[in-house]
Symmetry: C2
Subunit: 335 residues, 2 copies
Amino acid sequence: MVTIKDVAKLSGVSPSTVSRVIADNPRITEETKKKVRKAMKQLGYHPNISARNLVAKSTKAIGVIMPSSANTALQNPFFPEVLRGIGSVIHEARYSLSLSTGETDDEICEEVKRMVFGRYVDGIILLYSRLNDRVTNFLREQDFPFVIVGKPYENESETTYVDNDNLKAGKEITKCLIDKGHEKIAFIGGSSDLIVTKDRQDGYIEALKEAGLEENDSYKIHTEFLKSGGREAVEYLLSLKEKPTGLVVSDDLISLGVISRLEESGYSIPDDLSLVSFNNVYLSEITRPPLTTVDIQIYELGAQSAKALIEKTVNKGEPAKRIIIPHKIVYRDSV
Amino acid sequence: MVTIKDVAKLSGVSPSTVSRVIADNPRITEETKKKVRKAMKQLGYHPNISARNLVAKSTKAIGVIMPSSANTALQNPFFPEVLRGIGSVIHEARYSLSLSTGETDDEICEEVKRMVFGRYVDGIILLYSRLNDRVTNFLREQDFPFVIVGKPYENESETTYVDNDNLKAGKEITKCLIDKGHEKIAFIGGSSDLIVTKDRQDGYIEALKEAGLEENDSYKIHTEFLKSGGREAVEYLLSLKEKPTGLVVSDDLISLGVISRLEESGYSIPDDLSLVSFNNVYLSEITRPPLTTVDIQIYELGAQSAKALIEKTVNKGEPAKRIIIPHKIVYRDSV
DNA sequence: CTGTTAGCGCATTCAA
DNA sequence: TTGAATGCGCTAACAG
């Protein structure tokens, strides 16, 4: 392995000078810099990151934690897309990205501890937010830099997070249905532990209230992201005496299952039933019918979270921030 | 920061003894081990990974390189699923997983160099394989441990890779169509640079030949994974005087676009046209109709690649291996 | 079975 | 503007 010493020897300077050239220290002559750089190139020198990390007490690496994947949640195109957003700013900052590999909550928790205690990473991005999450609590305890994509369950004002205004979005998208004359509108959401589910549902409820529509508990359904999730929800809904005519679904992926099951039973969308949804994943454009859905700018969610985290790691003491990514409704044919 | 020295002091032994306890060296008394462990717990000690990496000359980290994401390829549920597979064995081996963040070929290439030269990782998994890939060539030049998910373009026998028998799979799935009496069968594939596209298409061609069916160049279409990819392909196909009655599509995601566009034009599947596909991504179950597709065991592809790579990194000199993951056809309703 | 010593490759004082 | 010395936290060889 070619080290800083070899470069020093070849270029006739001291190791510390080489180190300074690497850091592009302005107190080094352009001339010697040139000389040293030539030697580096000649020897094919590249700094050893572990050595550097050791002394710098920083790894310039960010940990990204995905939710537990017992379910197929991960298959949600949401994740590749946030990852792209995160990746773009991480890449530009010359950081590296360490992805969680655990599948269960236990594994993930253990892994986060390794990341934190072993100083694998300078900060962590959480790609989910839910009630009483061990990981979140741990990170807070340790006072370790992290940001949440989504809204924290508690300590909102002391936590940096990047989110949409899901309440408002839920309200707006529900209004789309109401404006079309729908009065029996159901909500189908993901796990009720997820903050995002709650927010969107609250928006849905508010919209109903404002319109003076009756709020019906049997119209609020929580299900899995699994393929069968949307299907089960539909089966339940169809079993009701009073069937809804409008559906607010909190995730495009669930919508897929919903539509599929609905058409199986002979219901056609939007003729028999209208449906609106969230996320504007690329799929929502391909489906039949294409989905009217809330574009939450997934990429941007990722990018901003990475940006905020990096700021936070370089500049400890950075205050907690709340970053709201604007959404917009994309009108297509499911209403 | 609490270091090995602090633990040593508190437990009244030397730093090296502590180090040995960490490594669970059998030449240390159970008694002292207990003592030392107690001190570690008491102080909340955790080894610093950078320091360890520095002396061990290994990071126990694996780099995973995704294809350039100029297109929406990444949104393909294939990737989360391989990542899950990779993650599972990486996690079990207590390795960590560094994900590429670059979007363009240039960025990716630069990033791989950083990973390799900076010794960020012990080995690399390539999640794609295509003609004349710079990254692959670089890795070979450097004689850096890597494995490909897919079949290498060249130096097949000297490269470790994990793949399906895509030729055979292509043949079998095409036969499904032929056996049903289809004679005009088209192939819609992804980029022709991708080895996987070529293999599957070759299988398709072989099947045609064996059945004595005419092979028609205007029936071989290459398109993007983009949403519009499948659509364009269909438009072209519909413009032909002699329209096919069967479609072999090399990716479930493309199939989605194909079906959507097809039904838009009033063609119904499988009544007017039959379609078979590849990957058995969860989507293929949700679509209408559910897809008859080749299950390529994506998770397993990932897991095996990680396993092979780790073996390779711990045991340099490990010979190149070819690992073929069996596929099976999942019969659903698109035929 | 355990302690002493040295050194991994680098960045950073402090001198010069 | 540069060099010499020191130490980051850890492991491993060598003693004992």
